[in-house]
Subunit: 270 residues, 2 copies
């Protein structure tokens, strides 16, 4: 999916909501255990209940990989269940030397046909570039993450700029607004105002809303642009809104509540 198509979907659905798919066998409703593949049944129900009101899905690859081969098959099958009008993100945070990065690009962007993959920047240019080579595919590079550990390195100053800013500015030279997004966590909303001074147009993928406590109103105020350019992700607050038979219905209610807020924020700031 290219940038124009993504913006079109956002406008059409009045939503910049991305739903994270972190299916945890410990947390999914117990009635699903009658299915051959409870995880897939869970993902399918969530997708069917929400695909008209969100613009993207972000399966967290670790949750599938930890289930072994069956898990990777489930990831593949889950990808196939996501309708074409939704943007797909393999949250894999890969980063390796050139020939290895090319292998990962092939696995996620071609074979599994995800629109995008999250990428770790520590190894520099040759580890990121292979994800920027495919038409209408995207690298989503870690900028400032939403976890406590972001203080350890990302906020350390290099000269007078924090590492995450150097990472974003440098990576912006390797890609463009049509093939490169950044992960920016929602836990410090004021950071968005600052980030928009040096990164005015790139899409930002924003984890940390919902269970992690980020404030949608504030980050939207600072982060939205005339092309919207935000994908705000919520996972646990939506997919685990209920652990009863009504889990999909409750997931939809949660997503709708976020969407109502998004619609009004888009009217106000875009």
């Amino acid at each position: 999916m290219n940038r124009q198509e993504l913006i079109l979907q956002i406008r059409k659905k009045s939503s910049y909501l991305c739903i994270g798919l972190d299916p945890d066998i410990q947390k999914i409703p117990s009635h699903l255990f009658t299915y051959d593949n409870p995880i897939l049944a869970f993902n399918q129900a969530i997708i069917e209940a929400t695909s008209d009101i969100c613009v993207a899905y972000k399966p967290n690859v670790a949750f599938f990989e930890s289930l072994g081969l069956d898990g990777m098959k489930t990831l593949n099958d889950t990808r196939s269940l996501i309708p074409e009008d939704c943007f797909t993100i393999a949250d894999a945070k890969r980063g390796d030397i050139g020939n290895t990065a090319s292998m990962y690009a092939k696995a996620f962007l071609e074979q599994m046909n995800f629109d995008s993959i999250t990428v770790a920047p520590y190894m520099g240019k040759d580890s990121v570039e292979p994800f920027l080579q495919l038409k209408d595919k995207w690298a989503i590079v870690l900028g400032l993450t939403s976890n406590k550990g972001n203080l350890d390195f990302q906020k350390q100053l290099i000269g007078n700029v924090p590492l995450y800013e150097l990472v974003m500015k440098t990576t912006m030279k390797w890609g463009n607004i049509d093939n490169l997004m950044f992960v920016v966590g929602a836990t410090n909303e004021e950071d968005f105002a600052y980030i928009r001074t040096f990164c005015p147009n790139h899409f930002l993928l924003v984890p940390g809303v919902g269970a992690q406590g980020g404030d949608l109103e504030k980050l939207s105020q600072y982060g939205l642009t005339k092309d919207v350019s935000l994908l705000v992700n919520a996972t646990r607050s939506i997919i685990y809104a209920s652990n009863g038979k009504d889990f999909a219905e409750k997931a939809r209610e949660e997503a709708l509540a976020i969407n109502e807020q998004m619609q009004s924020l888009m009217n106000k700031y875009c």
Copy 2:
């Protein structure tokens, strides 16, 4: 495998050689295509020809993942073929928030039973710690990598130390010499002398020897300690020494040549 056992194996074999397993369907000998699983047949032959003269194997997860589900099964099967007296490294370079990192630790260190996994440090403490919790298992954190891109961020100064030094010093507070190693590339051998000033005892996993051109003599001079504390990896120069029917034999010859050099370097510097 714990530190004492690893050092014992190194002493026993007079070798600190790690062999990388990056099985590329484009590069393996064509006669293997008569096998049901040519990649597995290739790995098996390499392992059988070299396991008495190396101390570790490092499958590069991307090369398996890019082959889809069958590839991940082959990774699993390859792991099972590695004898117990060899240290095993899942070269996966994972790094994610705590609950996700725990999933990766489970997948690679428990389910697939690797001794260790390579870990990307960008997301900080909570992304590394889950890999340091399991008995006799190891996190091998990226310090200074061997690719060109190491200049982009790893060698940038934070205060008066390069980022990779801050990463190593900080991570050393989270783990210890029994559960934490670092990746340090072989392309700048003088860096080893410097790194040993602030990291005198941790094992270093050193890619970049062989096809990538690192100098074994120099890096060993600067990097070896009384407990050896180096694992030097070679991949392409060994596993692709020949693409004929003699590939396993030639791989053994290459490994033996490196080992002879290692034996004399251990006598000199350990």
